[in-house]
Symmetry: C2
Subunit: 225 residues, 2 copies
């Protein structure tokens, strides 16, 4: 499948590499590839410069958001939640029409300190905001409930746990569910329409506190029943 | 242990019966015992009248909130979340001082329809509101993340999953954790101080959507790691 991953942070890189490993065509999208690729130092989060990652992943093109999205059938939103609507606008509505958007982003608000709160919650969600902004796209919220390594390789846990899909389009959810199973996810629960993204986005506050209590992000939610 | 359970709904009754079964002294508290015990019909939720339940549980006294709380070492808040602060005020601050309050309530707001939203979230929680209102009490948030039957008898699931405790007082959390283990919970995660109740209260939105997607409330979250 021809895919684009928007966002070059840890989540974007991890998902892009995993998609490529599984045989998909991948372009990773960023706002300004020239500037981003010219950086030689790690960022404030300790993430190595994109150029080094790109050199290690020669099969993955780096392109502007719009150029990445234009050729893709499936577009992964791995941008920061607070910047996602702007990044997708840069990708261009005409490049999103009819496409599956796998939205992994969390709308985190760091302006009140740590742990972050949510920019939108309970009566709305980022997933719904994206679906409203791009009504011809087929948004599926998924994978925002676990750390990047486990999104891409759930088998790193002896029990991989559960992941969730939320979206209005059944075919798009089937496409994403197939991808999740290829990644190694075994238990995928379809929560319903895109409004159910409110539920999974509101998992972040307890995820953040579990990260602190357990001292590691290497955990997942499992729905036992 | 001498315990009081405030609230005579399904959660209150289930917890009260389980505590009694485990050998604790239990008084179940309500606003107006005479009126409540005089009802002969099931309520709007289909819950049988309290008098019938009380007749089946002769070892459990029914009393006003204040009378129930006065003699108890541990007080379970099983009232509706929107009414909890008022119910605890009726119980009387002097009857809560130094006591462990096990707060099970969820601050659900049904005014916007189904599924309910949360009355307080993300920057505050019901657990914190109770702790602030009764600073000499020792509030522990727990068990609000699963259905009443599984709160009391997690062994009904072949894998019981995980429960959480949040609170400022280590001894109070130890007391509650001991009780949870007596109920049958095997994996109890201490999330930290009472502020971490924000995380577990924000699990409700996804819990409600899972209930809808799975068609049953007989499930639990498990943290796989």
């Amino acid at each position: 499948m021809k895919t684009a991953v928007l966002g070059t942070g840890r989540v974007g890189r991890t998902i892009a590499a995993r998609l490529a490993e599984l045989g998909h065509t991948v372009t990773i999208g960023t706002r300004d590839p020239e500037t981003t690729l010219s950086r030689t130092a790690a960022d404030a989060m300790g993430t190595p410069p994109l150029a080094a990652w790109a050199a290690d992943n020669p099969g993955i093109d780096v392109a502007r958001f719009a150029d990445a999205a234009a050729g893709a059938e499936l577009i992964v939103n791995a941008t920061n939640g607070g910047a996602s609507l702007d990044a997708l606008a840069q990708a261009g509505a005409e490049n999103l029409d009819g496409k599956v958007i796998l939205d992994i982003a969390n709308p985190l608000d760091f302006s009140h300190g740590i742990p972050p709160t949510l920019l939108v919650k309970d009566t709305d969600s980022l997933g719904e905001q994206i679906q409203r902004a791009f009504p011809a796209a087929r948004v599926v919220k998924a994978l925002n409930t676990l750390t990047a390594d486990l999104q891409a390789r759930p088998g790193l846990l002896s029990d991989p746990g559960t992941v969730f899909v939320s979206g209005n389009d059944a075919d798009a959810k089937n496409t994403v569910t197939g991808l999740l199973k290829d990644f190694g996810h075994q238990d995928v629960i379809d929560l319903g329409d895109i409004k159910t993204a409110r539920g999974v986005e509101m998992l972040l506050p307890v995820w953040l506190r579990l990260y602190s209590a357990l001292g590691t992000p290497q955990f997942n939610f499992k729905i036992v029943r």
